[in-house]
């Protein structure tokens, strides 16, 4: 399955928006944190897990989804949220802790929930899997269209929650697709030291579903495999497990010195940055430089608007902390 030109450009645009967004967040995050790095300082406090480099997986999968479909995401959720169509302004405002944010500042960057596009995420590793099964079950019971996609990292594939959810999905033939973003690092521990198999797609066999591995951090290849899996789920033929190779161009979190990386690994990854690679591919396929420049400019201004919106928004009253525990 290959993307149309329109789909390719959509993927490119969302990759660029995502990267520009992370760059803007990184800049704002560092405000107030120099010379001494204190996580609690600045306009964006707390942990920050950037998705630089992992954009291909999000766009290759979400290109096949519409607003009715469900995505459950991870502690590193920005690229997935953007590809699913979460409102960029409200997401930025949430990260800045403002009243106009998705939850008015109660959740922050690891807890983005946007019911308008059926997007949610969790800061707990592996916990995207079960809720995706439940949403898929909901559609099955109600005979309503829609598939669920659970994103997770390769480290999460060693969690019990992952294995329980796959068994449930396989047993009940649920319309759900599990997508592992394999960035090869669980914070500082390499995949090979934490995982009993070389590739997690083989684990699908244990749960009665097909498994696919997609090398190369290539949006087109991911588009192809995800498209088949999602079409299969839509037809009621059950779940699929996909593991896609990707690269974490940032640290696990901001402030991570990444001393665990072998020398030269980061340089090699930057040389394979998927965004310039995709631009080259699109040019080779006949897109014009002007066309792509326009996409990049549009991305710049979308991100700039979102950051401005977030900065200019008010904080909610402190006492809002005490509300919305129950609806």
């Amino acid at each position: 399955m290959q993307p149309t030109k329109e789909q390719s450009l959509w993927m490119y645009e969302n990759m660029v928006v995502s990267r520009r967004f992370e760059e803007a967040i990184e800049k704002a995050y560092l405000e107030g944190k120099t010379p001494a790095f204190n996580m609690a300082n600045g306009p964006i406090p707390g942990e920050m897990h950037l998705s630089n480099g992992q954009e291909p997986v999000a766009v290759g999968v979400c290109a096949h989804l519409n607003a009715d479909d469900i995505v459950t995401a991870t502690h590193r959720p920005h690229h997935q949220a953007i590809a699913k169509g979460v409102d960029l302004k409200r997401m930025a405002a949430e990260i800045f802790g403002k009243s106009t944010g998705l939850s008015g500042g109660r959740g922050g960057h690891m807890h983005l929930i946007d019911p308008a596009v059926n997007f949610s995420c969790s800061g707990i590793i592996g916990e995207s899997c079960g809720p995706a099964c439940g949403a898929a079950l909901s559609r099955t019971i109600q005979s309503k269209p829609g598939v669920a996609v659970a994103f997770l990292g390769e480290g999460a594939a060693n969690q019990g929650a992952f294995h329980e959810a796959l068994n449930l999905a396989g047993t009940w033939k649920l319309p759900v697709v599990f997508v592992i973003e394999d960035n090869s690092w669980g914070i500082s521990v390499p995949k090979a030291e934490a995982t009993a198999v070389i590739r997690n797609d083989v684990r699908a066999a244990g749960y009665g579903m097909p498994g696919h591995y997609v090398p190369g951090n290539d949006p087109h290849a991911i588009f192809d495999v995800a498209g088949e899996a999602i079409a299969r789920a839509r037809k009621g033929e059950g779940p699929t497990l996909i593991e896609a190779e990707t690269y974490r161009l940032a640290g696990h979190f901001m402030g991570d010195a990444e001393q665990y990386r072998p020398k030269g690994e980061k340089d090699a990854l930057f040389a394979k940055d998927p965004i310039p690679k995709m631009r080259e591919r699109l040019l080779a396929e006949g897109c014009t430089a002007t066309e792509l420049d326009e996409i990049e400019q549009r991305a710049d201004s979308l991100v700039a608007d979102a950051i401005t919106f977030a900065r200019e928004s008010d904080y909610a009253p402190e006492s809002d902390a005490l509300t919305a525990v129950f609806v």
Binding site: S120, L137, S138, Q142, A161, V327
Partner: protein
Amino acid sequence: MLDQPTNERRLTIARAMAEAMQQEMQRDPRVFVMGEDIAGFGGIFGNTRGLFEKFGKERVRDTPISETGFISAAVGAAMDGMRPVVELMFVDFFGVCFDAIYNQMAKNAYFSGGNASVPMVLMTSTGGGYSDAGQHSQCLYGTFAHLPGMKVVSPSNAYDAKGLMTAAIRDDNPVVYMYHKQLQGMGWLGTEPGATLNTPQEGYTVEIGKAKVVRAGSDVTLVGLAMGVHNALKAADKLAEEGVNAEVIDLVSLVPLDRETVINSVAKTGRLIVIDEDYHSYGVSGEIIATVTEHDVSKLKASPARVTFPDVPIPYAKHMEQFCLPNPDKIIAAYRKM
């Protein structure tokens, strides 16, 4: 009064729970039930009997023994507009699935600023007294009630059991519904007769967050929930023989907690004993005593007391477990010390 039985139809708690679920499933197609052995078997504690025959396997689902999987699935289904009733067979099993409960079920409404809701019921059995030892006999009321974002109820009788289940299913928030095994009316678990009450056939709700004065008195306030209420009532009967007039409060709900009913009662009696089958420290008993003393310590004529399970794992041997459990004699002894 809402809680006055309107007919002469006596049900066990198990049947009352099943009837509430059946009526709500009939009324609302979004309601479905899942858990271990809840379909054809009818629930280990009888609380889903008859549902599978009536609604079939799509809406009454046996699950794998996989609590993390199916409870987090219930969260996802609830956020997608369904109203799951999901069973954690023994509350003691929370250790294998608590992330789904306290990090997801209980927090997603808050994390969405109230834009999303998680309308689900987590029903789970509690309590010992039948020598099932330390991994199948706990109450853990305080553990669940401590964590924000979930309502917590525990009925002491069939009338409340039905009304609370109906209210829990209709609630837009997650509700942890804790039913005590010895109150279920399953003969093999040693049934407490006082739990089997007249229960109306028509659907009704019992308000979540409202305690009940189940026996009026003027000399001492006995506060409990679930099995604790029955122990308190038995103690009150014995105290009455000595001319001591005890008031008994059934908390019904732990979250929200009806502090006012407790405060008003102690304002009248001046004495407080809390009966709690959960562990002694850091739990419901301490919370109730703190509620009263924080409000107005001068209302107390004596130091408050509590009759609770000691801070030890629940022992197996019958005589050892019975030694640890609250009972009416311990309540009377606590009163005599005041």
